[in-house]
């Protein structure tokens, strides 16, 4: 169970936060905004001593059993505290949802992995769930509106990212061919999703392609950026730090585009009234100055 009863009798949501390598170690601005947003929403995030999820394409591509063992160890940390895992990255979601699915559905494999975990005094029984933060936010529309300070008025090119949508058996609650869950959330804080071609396509980073086949990954990215630019967005909106990294670093490498990149929690953080500097969005490679300027204007207007 990921809820606790508070003194006032209401139910409080609690999760084990799985920030993932990139939000922790490369784009700390995403971890910061996540903690800010979930604190405002009254959701408690508990920290555990996690490793990398490990990455579903690259590490699983090397050794499925190592991937499953480390995944099971991660899950065992949250299970020991009876908490569901909250991911803020599609890679972590795909990896941990996938390993959890195997460990829950295949008792023989679970015992095989538990035999390994037992050597370091751990065990995973498959009793918890792995959630993606966008799905949790989609259940909290009222609370998002309650916490909103500004209607941001940003035009956003929404990028879902592959491991949120596929394999679709990871996500039976949404229409993976035509999702609108993220558009619904950003609309709550006065943002407008822009239309562009092939909107559900890949960013080109996954599967070890980012490091192992960079030129191919950047070609995939460039095509997508071209379509996005036609929609004239103020920013690219993502729900995955790895896609975020690809859009932010990739634009610097391609040197053809200058579209700011924002994670959904950063947009919500801004809408909840936090100053852009406090969320450190200026640490991105592609300048976020225009976004900062727009938020400053809203603040000024509010004071008047």
């Amino acid at each position: 169970m990921s809820t606790v009863n508070t003194a006032s009798g209401s139910v409080k949501m609690r999760f084990s936060l799985f920030p993932g390598c990139i939000a922790k170690n490369m784009y700390a601005s995403i971890e910061k905004s996540t903690r800010f947003v979930f604190d405002h929403l009254g959701i408690e995030l508990v920290d555990h001593r996690y490793t990398c999820c490990p990455a579903p394409g690259v590490f699983r591509g090397y050794d499925i059993d190592t991937w499953l063992t480390l995944g099971a160890r991660n899950l065992s940390q949250a299970e020991a505290d009876h908490l569901d895992v909250l991911t803020i990255c599609n890679g972590c979601y795909g990896s941990l949802f996938g390993s959890n699915h195997i460990l829950q559905e295949d008792p023989k494999k679970r015992e095989e992995i538990n035999e390994i975990l037992g050597k370091v005094g751990k065990r995973y029984d498959g009793t918890i769930q792995v959630l993606h933060f966008a799905d949790v936010l989609s259940q909290l529309h009222d609370k998002i509106i309650e916490n909103k300070v500004y209607d941001l008025g940003l035009r956003l090119a929404v990028h879902y990212g592959c491991h949120y949508l596929r394999p679709s058996h990871h996500h039976e609650s949404i229409n993976v061919e035509n999702p609108h869950i993220v558009e619904d959330i950003i609309t709550l804080v006065g943002c407008e999703p822009v239309e562009f071609k092939n909107r559900l396509s890949c960013c080109g980073a996954g599967g070890g392609v980012w490091s192992g086949n960079e030129a191919v990954g950047l070609d995939v990215l460039e095509e997508k950026l071209g379509f996005m630019e036609e929609g004239e967005p103020d920013a690219i909106l993502n729900i995955c730090p790895f896609c975020h990294l690809q859009f932010d670093q990739g634009q610097k490498k391609i040197q053809k585009f200058q579209i700011p990149v924002l994670h959904l929690n950063q947009v919500l953080g801004l809408a909840f009234g936090q100053r852009p500097k406090k969320l450190a969005i200026h640490t991105h490679l592609v300048s976020t100055r225009e976004i900062e300027r727009k938020v400053k204007k809203l603040k000024k207007k509010r004071k008047e």
Partner: protein, 159 residues
């Protein structure tokens, strides 16, 4: 049946009717030589594809598996074929850095001093709460990887 064929069978490739929807929807294939249809078909025929660099051009986006009318799990087939390729020393050596990082810190992307500084400026713990800052827990993680033989496998095959 050789190992490559075994992988193909485990991924239901025998159901493939060669319609090519997998290749048609492949974002990486638009920009590279990766032809998912041909790759899994070759594996099914027992042709050794473990030295084929196209195996590593897949972004694991799952478009192909999702659209396959016969339910062939093409991505998982590619992942399993990669596992086999690694055992034969055929993989992009550039990944060794991420693999060493995973073993040494628990993270594929470790913390840099620059980001540590940003973390403390914006009010996060300078070092994240994870295994990288807990030597005892990290040694347990390394023990798990020693048992699965991960580093040995990659290093040995990489030579």
């Amino acid at each position: 049946m050789n190992l490559v064929e075994e992988v193909a069978w485990e991924s239901n490739v025998e159901k493939c009717v060669q319609c090519g929807k997998c290749t048609a929807g492949c974002p990486s294939g638009r920009q590279s030589r990766l032809r998912t249809r041909a790759l899994v078909q070759m594996a099914y025929q027992g042709i050794d594809v473990t030295d084929n660099p196209d195996l590593w051009a897949c972004t694991t986006c799952y478009n192909c598996a999702e659209r396959c009318p016969k339910g062939v799990n093409t991505v998982d087939a590619i992942i399993r074929l990669r596992n086999l390729a690694v055992r034969r020393g055929n993989f992009p050596k550039v990944h060794l850095t991420a693999i060493e990082n995973l073993y040494n810190t628990g993270n594929g992307f470790p913390l840099s001093p620059e980001v540590a500084k940003i973390r403390s400026i914006i009010g996060l713990a300078k070092e994240p709460y994870d295994v990288s800052t807990d030597p005892e827990e990290l040694s347990k993680v390394q023990k798990l990887m020693d048992i699965t033989g991960f580093l040995e496998l990659v290093r040995g095959a990489g030579q």
